[in-house]
């Protein structure tokens, strides 16, 4: 009974007799341990007579200290030398002593710090290598499943596809529209400020249109989808993995690639071009509003410049990247989900990793594509 007012345990040495009294409980652990340690350092002999009759409260923490004080061997047969102790107390002391006979110190692997550091670097490098191999393998698997599925229309999961288009696409429209609108306005402001010095504010129109058709529309939509949807894919599939649902799908004789990955991936590839288009429109709209209200360029003039100066191929270049980005984001999101291993922490780690990876991949690929298109003169 852990009553509120108790006397902490005491250790007294009288005529080479060790008297133990008071409460030996968790509440007084620090005080008691101090006493036990100082007793140990004061006397070396461990075979003095012991009087346990004054013992009031005792729990496992107190028992642990008493065992430390008197030694596990001696405590293990406490019933022989302290027969007047209540039976329950004897049982407690003996149980604790029996446990403490062996050393409970777990063996910790020890390494030199330098070697540790090198091992860490090595592990990271191989992990990166494995990750890329796995990603390529997963892409291959997805493509073969996709091809196999395309030829068998009765195995298309139309309901799942539509549901995912709804979740990942339709629900993302407002945020994509708002974000690109704001960025469009910012780009226009930026252009106006820089171009004013050259008396060329009219070129703000070209700047906004070029930026959104070629790069910003698709990039912003892709980054938003990477944050919004890749994480959702990872968490969904990861939770299913942790709950053994993936194994259940396999055991029923179905293919998780076909059931889970393809609908998500196709939904992404349908929806990202649409979101990109919406992003382009809203970005240009944002720029147009700044032009109209701040730069005194009329709406008709804005449209006329668009029509005269911006050929169709910029739009196609921007839109053409969307399905590729969508594929990458979807594949990374799903693959990270499959890599989840059981625990809640693992779901969190892989969700983070899927967002970081997909954003990184999108930007990297966009940079490569920009270089390529420039060299090609498209």
């Amino acid at each position: 009974m852990a009553s509120t007012d108790t006397a902490p345990g005491q250790l007294h040495v009288t005529d080479s007799r060790l008297q133990i009294s008071g409460d030996w409980t968790l509440e007084h652990y620090a005080v008691l341990r101090q006493q036990v340690r100082s007793h140990h350092s004061a006397s070396s002999a461990g075979d003095e007579a012991v009087d346990l009759s004054g013992l009031a409260g005792l729990d496992t923490a107190g028992a642990r200290l008493l065992v430390e004080l008197l030694g596990a061997e001696r405590m293990a047969n406490v019933s022989q030398w302290a027969a007047d102790l209540p039976q329950a107390r004897q049982a407690l002391l003996e149980t604790v002593a029996r446990v403490l006979r062996k050393s409970l110190e777990p063996t910790r692997p020890r390494r030199a710090p330098l070697a540790d550091w090198l091992v860490d670097i090595g592990e990271r490098v191989t992990a990166l290598w494995h990750q890329q191999r796995m990603l390529l393998g997963f892409i291959g698997l997805t493509l073969t499943t996709l091809l196999a599925c395309l030829l068998r229309p009765w195995r298309w999961r139309v309901t799942a596809l539509v549901a995912h288009i709804h979740q990942t696409g339709l629900n993302a429209v407002p945020i994509v529209a708002l974000l690109t609108f704001l960025v469009g306005a910012v780009v226009a402001f930026l252009g106006a400020t820089v171009l004013r010095d050259f008396g060329a504010t009219i070129f703000t129109v070209n700047l906004v249109a070029f930026a959104f058709l070629r790069e910003f529309g698709v990039l912003l939509a892709a980054i938003l989808l990477a944050g919004r949807t890749a994480s959702a894919f990872t968490a969904q599939i990861g939770a299913m993995k942790a709950n053994e649902e993936i194994d259940a799908i396999r055991a029923i004789g179905l293919d998780p690639m076909e059931l889970l990955v393809l609908p998500r991936l196709l939904a992404m590839m349908v929806i990202l071009p649409i979101l990109t288009f919406i992003g382009m429109l809203c970005g240009i709209l944002g720029g147009a509003l700044v032009c109209i209200f701040m730069l005194d360029i009329s709406a008709t003039q804005f449209l006329a410049i668009l029509q005269r100066d911006i050929p169709l191929n910029h739009f196609l270049v921007g839109l053409g990247k969307a399905p590729i980005f969508a594929f990458l984001i979807g594949v990374i999101g799903c693959l990270e989900g499959f890599k989840v291993s059981g625990s809640a922490q693992s779901v969190g780690e892989h969700t983070t990793s899927s967002v970081v990876q997909s954003i990184f991949m999108v930007i990297l690929l966009d940079a490569v594509a920009a270089l390529f298109f420039m060299e090609m003169g498209w």
Partner: protein, 283 residues
């Protein structure tokens, strides 16, 4: 066997001290009534087995007693105080005297085992980290885990080891009442028998009272002093196994005198003759 002697002794003194008194408990989920006018006592030093069909609210009863679910009516009196009427601070003080082992262990997956067990010690007992981990390792050893398990993460463990580690955490603050929710579910028979024995040993050594929700007939026959049967929204009967077995309720009859009940009773009877059930087994 010595267990029989301990059991008899425990029963004799048990009549006097009731630790937890549940009276008129009612629990509802929407229109679904789980408990109604349910009474139950948990006595000092006993292992009380709680059985009942799936969906009869065994886990809900456990959650109501430890304060995880607020009952819709009735009182839960713990160590002489009504848990539902207490201010939160006093409540948490009382709840510290409970140890709970959840059905799937509920170990914190981001901490290793010794940190899992040390957490309540650090938070409530104000120990230093070194002391807390030292005690945690002892608790893990008491629960029958090898020393090297202390640094393992929960995800690296088998089902039996998770149960043992969760038991060690439940024991961290030296609780007076231990609540176990299906501790042997999912363990192999050897592991389950070990776990039964472990609980009995700890009960005797630490003077615990144990509230044991179980489906395991072997556990009922080997470990439990009293058995409470949940049925028809209340505790149908709570008494020694011999009395419960003799009850003429249809569910109880099917439960204890079905093929599995007979087998478990036969095994327990062969080891230690506690219940004269042979005459009733043909029903």
């Amino acid at each position: 066997m010595t267990d029989a002697g301990v059991k008899a002794g425990a029963e004799a003194e048990a009549e006097s001290e009731v630790l937890i008194r549940v009276r008129g408990l009612a629990n509802r989920f929407g229109s679904h009534v789980v408990h109604e006018d349910l009474d139950l006592d948990i006595r000092h030093g006993e292992i009380l087995g709680v059985v009942g069909g799936s969906g009869t609210g065994k886990s809900v009863l456990l959650r109501s007693i430890v304060g995880l679910k607020r009952p819709d009516a009735g009182s839960v009196e713990v160590f002489g105080e009504d848990l539902t009427a207490l201010p939160p601070s006093r409540r948490s003080e009382l709840e510290r005297r409970f140890g709970v082992l959840f059905q799937r262990g509920a170990l914190f997956s981001s901490l290793d085992l010794q940190e899992n067990v040390a957490l309540p010690l650090l938070e409530h007992a104000g120990l230093t980290r070194g002391d807390a981990e030292d005690l945690a390792r002892m608790k893990l050893a008491l629960a029958g885990l090898p020393p090297d398990a202390a640094l393992k993460m929960p995800s690296e463990l088998s089902g039996g080891m998770i149960k043992r580690a969760a038991l060690a955490r439940a024991l961290a603050l030296d609780p007076e009442v231990l609540f176990l929710d299906e501790p042997t579910a999912g363990l192999d028979p050897i592991g389950a028998a070990d776990f039964d024995r472990l609980i009995m040993t700890l009960r005797d050594a630490l003077g615990l009272s144990v509230f044991l929700v179980t489906h395991d007939l072997d556990t009922l026959y080997t470990a439990c002093d009293r058995v409470a049967v949940l049925s028809q929204r209340r505790v149908l009967v709570a008494d020694r196994l011999a009395v419960v077995e003799a009850s003429d309720d249809a569910w109880v009859r099917d439960y204890f005198h079905g093929p599995r009940g007979r087998a478990a009773a036969g095994a327990a009877g062969a080891a230690e003759p506690i219940t004269p059930t042979t005459s009733r087994e043909n029903t």
